[in-house]
Amino acid sequence: MLDDIVKEFLVESYENLDQLDKDLMALEDAPDDRNRLSSIFRTIHTIKGTSGFLAFPKLEHITHVGENLLVLLRDGALRLNADITSGLLTMVDAVRSILGNIDSTGVEGDEAYEELVARLGRLKEKDPAPPAPVASPSDKTEIEVEKVIRELSGEVAAAVQQLSAPPKKSARAPRAKGKAAAKNSEIHVNVPAPVIAETPVIADTPVIDEPADHTDLEHATAAMAPASAVKREARSSSDSSGDGTDRNTSVADSSVRIDVHLLDKLMNLVGELVLARNQIMQFSQGLEDAALAAASQRINLITTELQEGVMKTRMQPIRNAWSKLPRVVRDLSISCGKQVQVKMDGAETELDKTILEAIKDPLTHIVRNSVDHGIETAEVRRKAGKPPEGTLLLRAYHEGGQVNIEIADDGAGISVDRVRQKAVEKGMVTAEQAAAMSDREAIQLILLPGFSTAAKVTNVSGRGVGMDVVKTNVEKIGGTLDIHSTVGKGTTLRIKIPLTLAIVPALIVTCEDDRYCIPQVSLLELVRLEGSRARTDIELMHSVPVYRLRGQLLPLVFLDEELKLRPHRTDAERRCSDIVNIVVLQAEDRQFGLVVDHINDTQEIVVKPLGLHLKSLSTYAGSTIMGDGTVSLILDVLGIAQQSHVLGINGTRNMIDNSSSHGEHARNGDSWLIVDPLDGTRAAIPLSTIARLEEIRTDSIEKTGRQQVVQYRGQIMPLISLNEFGQVEPDEHGSISLVVFNDGHRNVGVVVGRIVDIVSESNEPIHEGTGDTRIIAGRVTRIVNLEQIAMNA
């Protein structure tokens, strides 16, 4: 029985301590934030009280000394400074370590913490600050809040009950909607939390004794607004605090702690329910019994909602993994003598609980590295013309079924040449290999075990252990790690991790009668070759099949061959196929075409990790259960690209360049799209500036004002004609050829008349002409700068 109480105390205290770290650091930026001071005071007071009750004298003593110091701070007799903050943080650490001892051994441990107690005592003495005004506005707010709280608590409790009912959603509700609903209910649910948590503690402070003079509810509600505004302001004044504030204090009241294993079990049960539901649905369709059909329809809806609900319980905002980092950065930057500011963006991005746990350590490591090696000292930064305070930006966002986490610093960056040099010195690669590597490949060398470019080994990092561990940990959860760095500007590490359990849109393809899923993140487009084109358009480049996609050679990978379901096709076999389906995929910065038997459709699939026996197969990212209950494998596009050597591990550059770079002018040797704008002239567009080629029907053109537009991928795309009269003319089939240009923000459609040819400089003589004209293939040709045209649109 007592054990349970102690356990409860430990869990709650850990949470409170995390909050304390944040609060203390937020307080450093705004030392007069009395709300925060009170909250810190209350936390310590609670721990003190409970430890006294549970007979942990050491804990009680330390927190008591801390509390004394906090009283002075709260009453304005003492003003917070860096020394006091450090002292209080040390106290938090001491409390944490005692709690750790209690957790593991049941007793407080041997350490006496006399030094700490003495230090806290000394801090109490010196530097008395001018007393703060007695009735500061924040006091008043507090009174009002308290009052409001009392009056509202009943009201709110009722509202909470309403809100905590699961939000109604349609069966295939998009995730965003679900999240919004979750957010709403969270906000509301959290409202009463500080109420109940605060009331008993505040009750013994003098503030509350003042008579309440507003009693009506409306007024109270109005008063609540400024209070929350104050809170928000306090929060925004320090990005580091995040808005975990409400969350942690609210735990006791608005949420129930649940064992993750129980959730796993629920998840499995829901899975079973889904399948039973499917069977019932099938069964009821065969019976044509209206009552049964109605009942099974209801079961269908409820099951879907239940499934979503249970899945959502496992999702947590990434804030939970980030919350410790500001403290890490603070301690580290002080010990390195640097100034570092932490910024967070997208802290509400949700991730599965297990993944969140798995990335905590890698994140801490990366952040330590950034502060230790990346960000320079204030003088160095000033000399380099940068603000003395370095910035560490943590960013998270969803992108096509994956979560991207970026850790960016504006520090010194990584010198690729030094990485090369170091790798050669350490014998990791030969000098020739190093020279042959692209910068992108070379920078990845720092992820190898035993690599360190740090000039000197510090006690924080630089011993050459670490980045490889980070990489392994990230890859263990199916993620990828990517580094971008510019010398002098900073380094950005990007972790891409899948949302397991989350629903991922995928393309379903068939290969040798089995269905496979391709996550749509990597999907660029689909190409279908029929009839004679299927036989002739796949060319061989020294036994490697390629396809000319808008003038660029696209290496082809045959899925059945790659999966070793059949031997490699001979050239003759390749020539007798009637239909070729090419799925154009993006793997890192390369593109390749995956040839499959059939392309079925797109579906939302639930990613399930592969069992132990299959983890080592790089071809698969996981498995899923299809609508009919069969298991399908999810292809790992990156793995396939590596296995088929589309992505060279080192050295061998691939034959295709990324053609999606926007607005770049054609370099020598580039390809040109030759068009006939139907006005008797010729024009050439550098292929590298074209996002896509499209053909549209004349009747799909609409008008806004004078501008001709079409609906394109859910957006309105303006049309501009290359024709000297600015006219949009259909060709003989009533269709219009477009070149789509993307300037990074929007698409612009350039009507090109008729597409004549694609030429590349290597096989067509191109002569310099005057101005922006050239002689290409024997004709005077105008060179079109899409970027310029788009600017006029």
Binding site: G611, H613, T630, V631
Partner: protein, 151 residues
Amino acid sequence: MSMPGSPSMQTQNSFCTFRVGTMYLGVEVHRVQEVIRAQRMTRVPGAPDVVRGLMNLRGQIVTALDMRRRLGLEETESKEPQMNVVVRTPDGPVSLLVNEIGDVIVVDRTQFEAPPETLQGIHRELIGGSYKLQGRLLLVLNLDAAVRLAA
């Protein structure tokens, strides 16, 4: 199946028995989650030979291992092992594909004997010993070794 009073708990063991090829094998009954008939399998190209495929066990994806291939037995009968003995492992359930399911039997610990030195190779690794039953030997499958495939 149900165990009698506590004293016998010490000396008796329950085994789920099955046949793979010519071998009469047993797995401790508490390691067995369930026994099910042939299921639809999804093959996994590129996987080790022993992995017959993936199956959907009430929403959970379970890897099925062909015990005949695992034990390196010759294909004496035309039919591949079809019955699923789903066992619990620390990494989740795994299905063992066997030819035929036997009874759950209770054996006495005193009947147990470690394998003789002459048992060599893969069988030495996978068979933890045998119970001397009337008329035949029940070979105890070393489950942890059986589901662990060489990487």
